[in-house]
Structure formats: C-alpha cells, structure tokens
Symmetry: C2
Subunit: 210 residues, 2 copies
C-alpha cells in the first residue's frame, strides 16, 4: 500500500536532517510518494544555503501517512511559530508515523505531542529539546527512539538510520536492506548504539566556521 | 580563504549524492559559500521527488573553487547533453577540486576530464562509468579516489566520506572531525575500505520499488 510522506520544512532547516531520510524513502519508488510542505509555498532556504521548493502550504497539504520534521538552527524561531505548532498538532496525531531528526523533537515536544512518551534529540544541544517538556521521557543515549506513532532521532546522520528502521517496520527487513545496499550506506541498526552521547550538551564543540 | 562550491544539478539527480556532501560543506559556515547551478534556473526535480532551486544557469554561473556533480538515474540523459558536458569542460579544469558522487563520474569521463587519472563510481552500475572512457584508470574497489583536481566517489553515501576527506585536505583534520561530530556522522576515513565492491555491476539487486 502506497504511503504519502510529507517533509515539513522551515527556513534554516538542516539539509541532511531532511535529505538523509528522504533519500532512503525516495529509493522505495512507487511505495512512497514524497511531498514537501512549508508554511508558505515556494523556496525554503536551508542553513547550508540551498533552497528546496515547497509544493504545499499548511492550508492545502494533502493527507499524510508519514511526517518528517527536520531540525536545524531554524528550530529556535519555529518553537514560537504557532502556525507550525498548530499544523503539527492537527496532523501528527492522524499520521501513522511522525519522525523527527535532531532538534525537530524540540518542536514536537513544544507542541505537546511527545508527552508521556520516550524520545531523544541531538546530543550537543540536548537541553534545547528536553527543556520543552518535563512530561517527555527524554533518553540521552539513543541513536533513535521508536515510540510507535512518534519516532525521534538524535542529530543529523542518526536520521538516516532511523529512516531505515521505519522502512523495516513498514515494508520489511529485505526492503530496508536493499535500500541501504543501493545507496551504499552502512546502516547502524542498533537504536541504542549512540557514540555521540559523549558530547551531551557540549554545544561549544560545534563552533566550526562562523 | 573562502571557497565557493557549485553544486551542478540536473533532473532526476540522486538526493543524497548532492546533500550528503553539501551538509558537510554547509556546516563550515563562512568558510564555504554554496551555490546551486543547473542548465536552467528554477526548480530541479530529484529522482526521489523534492525539487531544489537552481539560482544560476550555465550562462551566469560565478567562478567556482569547488564543483560537486551528483549521480542518479538522470545521468543517462545527461551523458548526451552537450550543454552540461561543455559547461564541465569549461569549468572543471579551472576549479581547485571537482568532486563527483556515484554515476557523476560517468559524466566527467564522457567529458574526457578523467582521462589519464584514477577514478571510481558506484558499484552496482560500475560499467556505466567505465564504458565512457578506456583512458581512465578505473578502480573497482574504492570508497573514493583522490586524483588531485578530480575526486570521484562510489555510490551515494560514499560521497559524504569523500566530502569530509576533501574538507580535511582544504581546511585540516580538526575542521573535518568537527564537521563529522557536529552532524553525528561516523566518518569512514579509509578511501580503500569499500564493502560494496561485492556488488560490482549487480544492478539487478537494485530493483526495489518501481
């Protein structure tokens, strides 16, 4: 059965948060239809520079079986954006699976969607997510956490491993393994194997360029 | 010194071929300026679905220190596209480093730019690249090959490892390691460690969805 996956983008989203998972779902061909949604239709600029075209806005987005919410520096502004929070509150509970990558879980937590559930976020800025709700069972050491309808991953690259785990749940192990092999990706299959927990809240280490 | 990186996109490019490397260069902040170039300005549709906005076309693309050429199913049409081949012939020899991912090396080889050099390509469709020129020293077992001005990588995910190696060459080991840590990416640092050589030309295994 074909699934429709909506990637919810906003200005200054982190490129690989979105495109790691979208690559893996994208190679499934006819099994998944990917649509891009943002508050306004048109180009959405990533923190890295390139802009992705949103085909739908919050008023005309189609029904979604799967939702993907990336993180990124743009998260900080979106935590105060009622239009996005309201869209997620309306749509995520109707989805089969809503996935977040990196600080995307901060937004889901702010919307109250993770209350009572286990969840994770990226390691260097973990407190950004965990400070959004005390009712979430935050897991500091996890590559991703599958809580059923909500699957949250740690930073950037962890989203790709999470996506393959979700593909395995939906379409079976062979499909996930074929997607990984086709993309020459060495899938980290253990959700609890998190080498980056050593950097918990060490955001200073993230200062690279400017 | 700031570098300008031009990502050359075309219809049906493979998302992660472009966005794995662009993520790594993107987190370098002020050290790298990323621009997106295509034969026509405007949306360029990936094989996975989402469209990226090209800000420049071949007539007004700025000078480029670095070039990134992704692969993907769209490669097949581009091998016959003189506009792209001519643009690469004009610009790649002026670049400091031109990188390809996956079947992107087939296009570089068709343009004659890899003649006399070692190079690689994705494993399942290796013959697509190797059939473009007998004057290239094709390496069947390599995650990526650094031939100086031209750095070619194997399939999809290998491009991310290649990008970190190029970042290391340009900006130093600490910068590359910080980029990997920031993106929670487990960098495969050995260019010759290629677990996907086992799938050489086994393209049938790539049939997943449709």
């Amino acid at each position: 059965m074909k699934k429709r996956l909506g990637a919810i983008l906003y200005n200054d989203f982190e490129l690989l948060d979105a495109y790691g998972p979208l690559e893996m779902f994208g190679v499934l061909g006819e099994q998944v239809d990917i649509v891009v949604i943002a508050e306004q239709k048109g180009p959405v600029r990533s923190s890295g520079g390139p802009s992705t075209l949103a085909e739908y806005d919050f008023s005309d987005a189609p029904e979604l079986d799967l939702i993907l919410l990336p993180g990124g520096i743009g998260t900080l502004a979106e935590l105060e954006n009622d239009a996005l929070l309201d869209f997620l509150k309306a749509r995520a509970p109707l989805s089969e699976i809503t996935m977040s990558v990196c600080s995307g879980s901060a937004i889901l937590a702010r919307a109250g969607l993770l209350d009572g559930l286990p969840a994770t976020s990226n390691k260097m800025f973990f407190s950004l997510a965990s400070s959004q709700s005390d009712a979430v069972e935050w897991r500091e050491a996890a590559r991703w956490v599958d809580a059923g309808r909500y699957v949250t991953s740690s930073g950037v690259s962890a989203g790709t491993d999470m996506a393959l785990a979700v593909i395995e749940r939906l379409f079976g192990t062979e499909t996930a393994e074929t997607a990984a092999r086709f993309t020459e990706y060495q899938w980290h299959r253990d959700a609890d194997d998190d080498p980056f927990k050593a950097y918990l809240n060490q955001a200073d280490a993230a200062a690279i360029g400017g």
